[in-house]
């Protein structure tokens, strides 16, 4: 603003350079006057400026992703445009799976706000919801038991020595390897799928919680001792708030892993869920449906990760 005003002043002054030096001093005065007026003029402009600013930031973050997406889709379309191609291109997916894409809530009727689901052929969102329900139960159990076990091995050196090697071995077992055991023990699809999620998600929760408890600064422990807090008070007032960031790191990894596990579990045991949907569409040679399901899985997994991360930040700020 100032430099513009200055430039204008100099510019208007250029024609009569022959004038005496003292007039230059007079001409030099206007710029401050302009800057004094400027703020009052700028205030009403600001909201608009902020909106453009936000829009620009948004564009800066979204546009590159969008560009890559368009480029990839185009490349894909060209590579798979041959009618005999084994992988369908984006356009073919849009045409053949139109029903799956556009009617995710098929088979659901709303009575007011209460949905009721019909049996049989249902939309992809219903499968996703079924899977999410399983994840909620399995992951909820894993979070509860994982935090309890993590506190135990973080707090007690004996428990750490006894259990840590065991956990380190168990956590490397892939989810699918648990499936035969899980099926043999529970006999039914629902509980064994939940167990699979539980056993997959619990390890990062346990290990991160334990690391968090071990990382509590000794001075905080001393404060607890000097105040003679009982174990329950110590847990609530010092250990929990001090460990929350570690805990949520574990929970975030855990929720991602349980989403990986659910698909694997449901693929093998039929019935409902997004994993079943994939397996079913593959068996019916509807590869385009499978690809739509992949996109859904990716987006839901991303959302789960963000939600847990967001809750973690909220809790850490509260605690």
């Amino acid at each position: 603003m100032f430099s513009t005003a200055n430039a204008v002043a100099t510019h208007s002054h250029t024609p009569d350079m022959t004038e005496a030096e003292d007039s230059a001093a007079v001409v030099a005065l206007p710029p401050p006057a302009v800057t004094l007026v400027a703020p009052s003029e700028e205030v009403p402009v600001r909201p608009l400026a902020r909106i453009t600013e936000v829009a620009r930031n948004l564009a800066a973050t979204i546009l590159p992703t969008l560009a890559v997406l368009v480029a990839l889709l185009t490349l894909w379309q060209f590579a798979c445009s041959d009618p005999g191609s084994s992988l369908p291109g984006p356009y073919k997916i849009w045409v053949e799976s139109h029903d799956v894409i556009m009617h995710p809530l098929k088979g659901v009727t709303f009575h007011g706000l209460l949905p009721s689901v019909e049996d049989g052929d249902v939309g992809i969102a219903v499968h996703i919801l079924t899977s999410l329900k399983r994840v909620a139960i399995g992951f909820g159990l894993a979070a509860f038991c994982g935090i309890a076990l993590g506190v135990l091995i973080g707090q007690s050196r004996l428990a750490y020595r006894a259990l840590d090697p065991l956990f380190q071995v168990l956590r490397t077992v892939p989810p699918l390897a648990w499936l035969p055991i899980s099926l043999a023990v529970f006999q039914q699809a629902q509980p064994s799928a939940i167990f699979l999620i539980f056993i997959t998600a619990i390890w990062p929760v346990v290990l991160n919680t334990a690391a968090g408890v071990q990382a509590i600064p000794p001075t905080y422990r001393n404060v607890g001792k000097v105040l003679a807090l009982n174990p329950l008070q110590f847990f609530a007032k010092i250990m929990l708030p001090a460990t929350v960031p570690h805990m949520f790191t574990g929970l975030r990894i855990g929720v991602g892993m349980s989403w990986l596990a659910i698909v694997a579990a449901e693929m093998v045991q039929g019935g409902t869920g997004i994993g079943f949907f994939i397996w079913d569409s593959y068996n019916s040679s509807l590869l385009t449906d499978t690809i739509v399901a992949l996109v859904w899985i990716g987006l839901v997994g991303f959302a789960l990760d963000r939600i847990v991360g967001w809750i973690g930040r909220r809790v850490a700020r509260q605690a």
Partner: protein, 266 residues
């Protein structure tokens, strides 16, 4: 039988097990502190001052010897011996008020309103009444330590233990906190044990300066009474004979009789 002092350390030795065998940090420490006395413990780093304070706090167990407080044996930490830690140890997720509140809830029975008033009263004492809703991260080092002091005195402890409370602060902040401590001490007449390695701080604040020999197996080397009248003003006091004499005596102990073990090794 001789009357036991309010706080009495009798034959305290502390030995830590190490991979190279037992390490004796403190040996045969006898110290008697009367009620309302302000005692400064001074010595080179590594001489076991903090260990001795932790023994009184109950955070470290003595290998031999007993600590009596008002005739009772001390064997565990408790809110009757409040500690002001060097790093203030405020819980970062609590506000200033909540930090003090946590301590008050543990020590003061009474209605919610009474406890709340007591928290505020103690924060006023350290001139931090304006920062009730702030979190420790928003405060300067000196202000954090003021809150640390408020938390300790709000517990109405029988003994106030200070572990190098101003060691991490710059000289000017330190001076203002020393003044705050003297002001509070004049009102409350606490029994205080303060660890320091600052000679001026020890002489200015304390009724007695207890000097410790170098470790390992450190013990009490000298016990100097500072007879200067109170209230003490740091500027007026600095020119008195009592002050310069006491200061010289402590300096002599620390730098001639028991000079820094690191310097000796060099």
């Amino acid at each position: 039988m001789k009357q036991r002092s309010y706080l009495a350390l009798e034959g305290i030795s502390v030995t830590f097990p190490t991979p190279k065998g037992p390490f004796t940090a403190l040996r045969d420490i006898d110290l008697s502190i009367e009620k309302g006395e302000f005692v400064a413990l001074i010595g080179h780093s590594g001489c076991g001052k903090s260990t001795l304070l932790n023994v009184i706090a109950g955070l470290t167990k003595a290998s031999r010897g007993v600590v009596f407080l008002d005739g009772e044996v001390i064997d565990r930490p408790g809110p009757d011996r409040a500690v002001i830690f060097q790093d203030h140890s405020l819980l970062p997720w609590l506000t200033v008020e909540e930090n003090v509140r946590l301590a008050v809830d543990q020590t003061l029975k009474g209605s919610r309103a009474e406890r709340k008033d007591w928290v505020r009263h103690n924060l006023e004492l350290v001139h931090m009444g304006h920062a009730l809703a702030k979190r420790p991260a928003e405060l300067s080092g000196g202000m954090k330590q003021r809150v640390g002091i408020a938390r300790a005195i709000a517990m109405s402890p029988r003994v106030l233990l200070m572990d190098e409370p101003f060691g991490a602060l710059d000289a000017l902040t330190r001076a203002s906190l020393q003044d705050a401590v003297m002001e509070i001490q004049a009102k409350l007449q606490n029994t205080v044990v303060m660890i320091t390695h600052d000679v001026d701080e020890a002489v200015l604040l304390a009724d007695r300066v207890v000097m410790m020999t170098n470790g390992p197996a450190a013990t009490i080397g000298e016990d100097l009474r500072i007879a200067m009248p109170r209230p003490r003003n740091r500027i007026d006091v600095a020119e008195t004979h009592d002050y310069t004499h006491a200061r010289a005596e402590v300096l002599h102990f620390l730098h001639q009789r028991f000079s820094n073990p690191v310097d000796q090794a060099a």
